[in-house]
Symmetry: C2
Subunit: 144 residues, 2 copies
């Protein structure tokens, strides 16, 4: 998995183009790991590519997510964040402290099957964010 333009053929195959903007944004996503807001991504990518504008960042992130190169999910605040698309997983966010963990997709596999059966929909593959109360906050609650 070379660091950068490994993605070019993926895009070209679908008639899309690789641009310096897309590369800069992918680069940020690759090297930051955690979930980033569009604004954070904009600020970091702008360092690599000074001319970059905000609308381009928003459009690019949406584009990358649609094409499977990035993945979007809703942060605790309800805002959309992005990360590089790697292994498929979901999130559980603590409603109380905002702490966030990942759970593998395996747990949801059978639900997705059932949903497809029950709804008639196909290709259900959304990333999902759940909300709950984490172990730490369950403790705190007892004291209060």
């Amino acid at each position: 998995m070379s660091c950068s333009s490994d993605y070019v053929p993926q895009l070209r195959a679908r008639g899309f183009r690789m641009t310096s903007q897309r590369l800069a944004i992918l680069h940020v996503l690759r090297h930051e790991g955690v979930h980033l807001s569009p604004t954070e991504i904009y600020k970091k990518a702008r360092i690599e590519l000074p001319g970059l504008t905000e609308p381009t960042v928003y459009r690019t992130l949406e584009f990358l997510a649609e094409n499977g190169l990035a993945r979007s999910s809703y942060a605790g605040s309800g805002r959309l964040t992005y990360e590089i698309a790697e292994d498929e997983h979901h999130h559980v966010i603590c409603r109380s402290c905002g702490n966030e963990i990942e759970v593998g997709h395996a747990l949801l596999e059978s639900l997705y099957q059932e949903l497809e059966t029950a709804s008639g929909f196909k290709h259900i593959d959304s990333h999902v964010t759940f909300f709950g109360v984490c172990p730490g906050c369950q403790q705190d609650h007892k004291e209060t």
Copy 2:
């Protein structure tokens, strides 16, 4: 289930107050049913209560959702919409045409159990929106 201030005791019990703004917004949610954007709610509620402002609408919706009187979910566009909290359900949205269906919570019940076991989190109760391709669009796809 009387139409309006049935909610008052619920709020007071938790130290909150019922206000004309909250009543107006609840009234809109009750009588519109479908998922409404904050802006739509603002416009409709303003007719009932002309002085109402947008920040109040946003804050009130968040407040109602936190307190179980309303429920929020992400529309296909990625924007947050609200509806009155009634029976618990989830949504599946068609990635292609935006068509949206409801699925009861029963299907997810056991997943939530597993998630709690696997993650150590408790009280997981999020409303979830899935994306897929609806029966109609599966047809269309074959032709194209």
